[in-house]
């Protein structure tokens, strides 16, 4: 269970505003975050990961306090059990696919889960490739696998499919759905694509004016005319 009560002052295109989020996330939830550009979707993921600090509030994950402004607790990003897939490809260019995956292992972690992931994500043929030799879809598939190596409590996906063509996007959606089901992951995904959210997530948070203006299943939250697009 993730208890999330955060407040963050942000600068938007239409002036300063405060992002206010007060939500609980149940283990295994797959939540889509939807909304206009600059509304704070990425900032929300960064605050959960520890890459950004909320102005005020609390983040408690399975009873462990990750952030509490009143108690001045702010667990650094390195100590939070998260997986993060960025919008752009950030595989380490100096490493092969296998080295990227091994780099993600913790000091005492056994390799068997890595081997399983390589199997599940169908990466065997790519292991010795350098990241520059991979297609956009392959890069994001490796990024997703790398984010899962440490079995994170929370997987954060920041528009991971936005730069891909439709075919690659659908293939990667299948992989995301597969790992969510197989490992019962708690996932937050930022997306501009209603169709994608329809296919992947159980719940959508629509951000508007610095808060969650609507939440529910994709069908409830996302307008039908958008879905038809």
């Amino acid at each position: 269970m993730i208890l999330l009560t955060i407040e963050k002052k942000l600068k938007g295109a239409e002036g300063d505003f405060t992002l206010n989020i007060d939500e609980n996330i149940v283990k295994g939830d797959f939540i889509g975050i939807y909304g206009k550009s600059g509304i704070g979707k990425t900032t929300l993921l960064q605050m959960l990961s520890g890459l950004e600090k909320p102005t005020n509030g609390r983040i408690v994950v399975d009873g462990e306090i990750w952030f509490d402004s009143s108690k001045k607790i702010n667990i650094p990003v390195q100590k939070r059990s998260i997986g993060y897939v960025f919008q752009n490809d950030v595989l380490f260019p100096n490493m092969t696919v296998l080295q990227n995956l091994r780099f993600a292992l913790t000091a005492h972690q056994k390799k068997y889960f890595l081997e399983e992931l390589i199997e599940v994500m169908e990466l065997k043929a790519l292991l010795n490739f350098n990241s520059q030799q991979l297609s956009g879809g392959q890069k994001q598939r490796v990024s997703l696998a790398r984010a899962l190596v440490q079995k994170p409590k929370l997987l954060l996906l920041d528009e991971p499919l936005s730069a891909l063509d439709i075919e690659m996007r659908q293939r990667l959606q299948q992989f995301i759905a597969k790992v969510h089901k197989k490992y019962q992951l708690t996932i937050l995904i930022v997306s501009h694509d209603p169709l994608e959210l329809y296919q992947l997530v159980g719940n959508v948070w629509q951000l508007n004016n610095g808060t969650i203006s609507a939440k529910g299943t994709p069908k409830e939250v996302l307008p039908l005319d958008l879905y038809r697009l």
Partner: protein, 231 residues
């Protein structure tokens, strides 16, 4: 080849030794300085950058002059070094190395700083979210991905040190076998109207400088290709 039998190799040897020492010491200190400048959020960053870049715009004689004042054994820091550690930097090879380090600092720091700043912002973050410390991220991710910038910095520093004249003349005084480098020999040979010897030394410096620039431009071409592939 006859003229080479009488050729004094000592200044060339000393110049190369000075260039190697300066490059080696600067790569050790330049990388952390470049890292700090690349990632600092301090409001005084332009001031620090200006300090590092000063040797680019200052006449070498100004640096040499202040070095002489600072390390003169008769007062201040120079006197303290002399009295306590028996170290005299003025007119010594160690002094030349220290002056060269200050004079070539921007040639090492700026390419590495640019290399680090040109890396995608998310690259270190991608390592942090995997639990890697800043130190691990620096060694395993950032440095290997800007090794061409480091090489460029090293090559430029080496070449710049070889070509130094004003600073080494003022700080070292062109003492044969001790602080006499090629550039000062050329000056002295021209003054003595020994154009043949001056020409030999000049041709060697010309060849070295040309080769160094070919290396730098080859590296920068490789860097550009690398960036194009990744955009």
């Amino acid at each position: 080849m006859m003229f080479l039998s009488n050729f004094n190799w000592q200044p060339l040897f000393l110049t190369t030794k000075l260039a190697f020492a300066t490059t080696l010491i600067l790569v050790i200190f330049g990388i952390p300085i470049a890292y700090a400048l690349a990632f600092t959020k301090n409001k005084l960053k332009p001031v620090f950058e200006a300090l590092v870049g000063m040797p680019l715009v200052l006449p070498p004689t100004v640096i040499g002059f202040y070095f002489l004042i600072a390390f003169s054994p008769s007062h201040g820091l120079g006197k303290w070094l002399n009295d306590i550690f028996n170290i005299q930097l003025v007119f010594s090879f160690s002094g030349l190395v220290l002056a060269s380090i200050i004079y070539s600092l921007p040639f090492m720091v700026q390419p590495i700083q640019n290399g680090l700043q040109n890396l995608p912002k998310n690259l270190p973050e991608a390592a942090y979210v995997l639990g890697k410390s800043k130190w691990q991220t620096f060694w395993r991710v950032l440095l290997p991905n800007c090794q061409n910038s480091i090489l460029t910095g090293m090559v430029l520093t080496f070449a710049h040190t070889i070509g130094e004249f004003g600073v080494v003349l003022m700080v070292g005084g062109s003492i044969p076998n001790k602080t006499q480098v090629v550039s000062s020999v050329i000056y002295e040979q021209v003054e003595a109207l020994n154009y043949g010897t001056a020409h030999t030394y000049s041709a060697i410096l010309l060849a070295i400088s040309f080769l160094v620039l070919v290396v730098v431009y080859s590296l920068s071409k490789y860097n550009n290709c690398y960036l194009r592939r990744n955009n």
